[in-house]
């Protein structure tokens, strides 16, 4: 078991954002978490890093309890996050952003890793010296993914990687996810609103509503399930 959440509760200000989440990710899996705006998906990913700190429950990674560790220590445990809203460093160059991703990695791998990123996202190589804030939305998204990969994570967490991307890029991103998983054996936890794509790319999926997991199954099963279609078509934020 790579990542395990049991009975996780979290509060965001006054909002009880997570209400008893049980979720697990096995080594080598692509797992997706789907659900509407405001269902608590992003909070779930951030709470893995203690932002916000969970108020009850337990999170283990690779058998180690990481529930109470400081954010930067958790980040040193081979988990990388591509957060909501990309959060690239706008006033740094593309190269510097990539180097920030590699801060904890073995410097000997740097050149190899950079080459890998250029191969994945050729546009980044063209823009190396450009300030990241001047990139377009899609380029920023690619940069955010590349930055996360520079740390050579075992577990990659992606928060809506397709947001604001052109169709061609969305395809490319999901292709990359598949490649990372199949060719490099990377474990991936993926949050998407674009449930169709996400479920097709994933081995297993969870459906989240109002801070709770309401359903789980293989990607194929969920895709076929009437309730899932209803859940992600109807949205889950009505009461928010």
């Amino acid at each position: 078991m790579m990542l395990q959440l049991s009975g996780v509760h979290a509060h965001y200000g006054h909002i009880h954002a997570l209400r008893g989440i049980d979720l697990s990710v096995q080594v080598g899996e692509v797992v997706t978490l789907i659900g509407a705006n405001g269902a608590g998906k992003s909070t779930l990913l951030m709470s893995l890093f203690g932002q916000p700190r969970v108020s009850a429950g337990r999170i283990t990674f690779d058998g180690e309890d990481i529930t109470r560790l400081p954010t930067h220590i958790i980040a040193r445990r081979d988990i990388s996050l591509v957060p909501e809203g990309r959060r690239i460093f706008p006033r740094m160059t593309v190269m510097e952003n990539l180097l920030m991703g590699a801060v904890l990695a073995d410097p000997r791998n740097l050149d190899v890793d950079l080459k890998r990123m250029y191969a994945l996202f050729p546009i980044l190589e063209e823009r190396l010296e450009q300030r990241a804030g001047t990139l377009s939305g899609g380029e920023q998204q690619m940069l955010a993914i590349a930055r996360a990969l520079m740390a050579r994570p075992k577990l990659l967490l992606l928060d809506e990687p397709s947001l604001g991307l052109a169709p061609l890029y969305i395809k490319k991103i999901f292709q990359t996810i598949r490649e990372l998983n199949e060719d490099h054996g990377m474990t991936i936890l993926l949050i998407e609103q674009n449930a169709h794509h996400a479920l097709r790319a994933a081995h297993r999926g969870y459906v989240m509503q109002h801070g709770q997991i309401t359903m789980t199954g293989t990607g194929r099963d969920l895709l076929a399930s009437a309730e899932v279609r209803a859940a992600y078509l109807e949205g889950g934020h009505a009461a928010a």
Binding site: N37, S136, G164, A166, P167, Q193, H196, L223, R229, G235
Partner: protein
């Protein structure tokens, strides 16, 4: 075709915007017919948002002109107007890719601020307002009525007294559109209004846009990646790549245009990307 279609509301001529040596927009010409929805699509970084920034006075284009055919004020050259005049005088109003609401103010306040110029005039340098003269009170009541009207039509009325920043993303998108509508736009420029919306919400957005054009006679310029929105509502689509227009035409034409498929939609699965995404209709899974 009626005769007024022949006179475009907005004509962009040979617009070029350079940052340093890089041309973000390169010799772009485009006509926006009144009372229609014109879609602008293209890969990320093709210069779509830069185009909007040039239209709305946030950037001064390096070369070229943007002319608006205002029904009352005649031809206005948008590139010469400061951004607030673009909204105020030319009635070209935009929304933003990264939602720019006034987060601590309530939804209603957001919509009232949008009517600032009207109210400010009615308040006569705040004097009529401070004294609480009836002329001002009437103007304020009208402004509130207008805001309430849009809030009701966009299904936001029960959020009126909530701070805008506390609401979910999809709701904020709608508020931003409602706020823009309170400025009384002739031309509404929407920058990725469907980004971050779930399929049901983007379906609702489609209906809204079509209703605005049909009921209000509004003209809409739309940047969007969500093909389920662009292809279903646009009368006309312009495709940009590297700041240049690579194709222009009806949605159907664009879906089959080899250049567009190559640069934007993707080689093989163009059709699936167009129609198979959000609803999942093409996957063959039956509910």
């Amino acid at each position: 075709m009626s005769s007024d279609v022949a006179v475009p509301l907005l004509s962009v001529e040979r617009l070029t915007m350079r940052f340093g040596g890089l041309a973000a927009i390169d010799d772009l010409s485009l006509d926006v017919p009144p009372g229609k929805i014109t879609g602008v699509i293209g890969p990320n970084g093709a210069g779509k948002t830069t185009f909007f920034n040039c239209l709305t006075g946030f950037y001064k284009p390096t070369v070229g002109s943007v002319r608006l055919n205002h029904p009352e004020r005649g031809v206005l050259r948008l590139e010469d107007l400061p951004s607030h005049q673009v909204a105020h005088t030319a009635q070209v109003v935009r929304t933003f890719q990264n939602i720019r609401l006034f987060p601590k103010m309530t939804v209603l306040e957001n919509l009232i601020v949008a009517q600032h110029n009207v109210l400010q005039k009615a308040s006569q340098f705040s004097l009529a307002g401070i004294l609480g003269l009836p002329s001002y009170r009437r103007a304020e009541a009208q402004a509130v009525a207008k805001a309430v009207d849009w809030l009701t039509r966009l299904g936001l009325i029960d959020k009126a007294d909530t701070a805008a920043g506390d609401l979910p993303y999809g709701t904020q998108r709608r508020i931003e559109i409602a706020r823009a509508l309170c400025v009384d736009p002739l031309l509404l420029c929407l920058d990725e209004p469907a980004a971050g919306l779930n399929p049901r919400e983007s379906g609702e957005l489609n209906e809204l846009l079509l209703r605005l054009v049909a009921d209000e006679g509004l003209t809409i310029l739309l940047i969007e990646h969500d093909m389920s929105v662009v292809m279903n509502v646009s009368n006309h689509i312009c495709v940009l790549n590297y700041g240049r227009k690579i194709a222009e035409g009806t949605p159907k034409q664009m879906q089959n245009d080899p250049n567009v498929i190559k640069a934007y939609l993707g080689e093989e699965e163009a059709d699936e990307l167009l129609y198979g995404e959000k609803g999942g209709e093409s996957t063959g899974v039956t509910p």
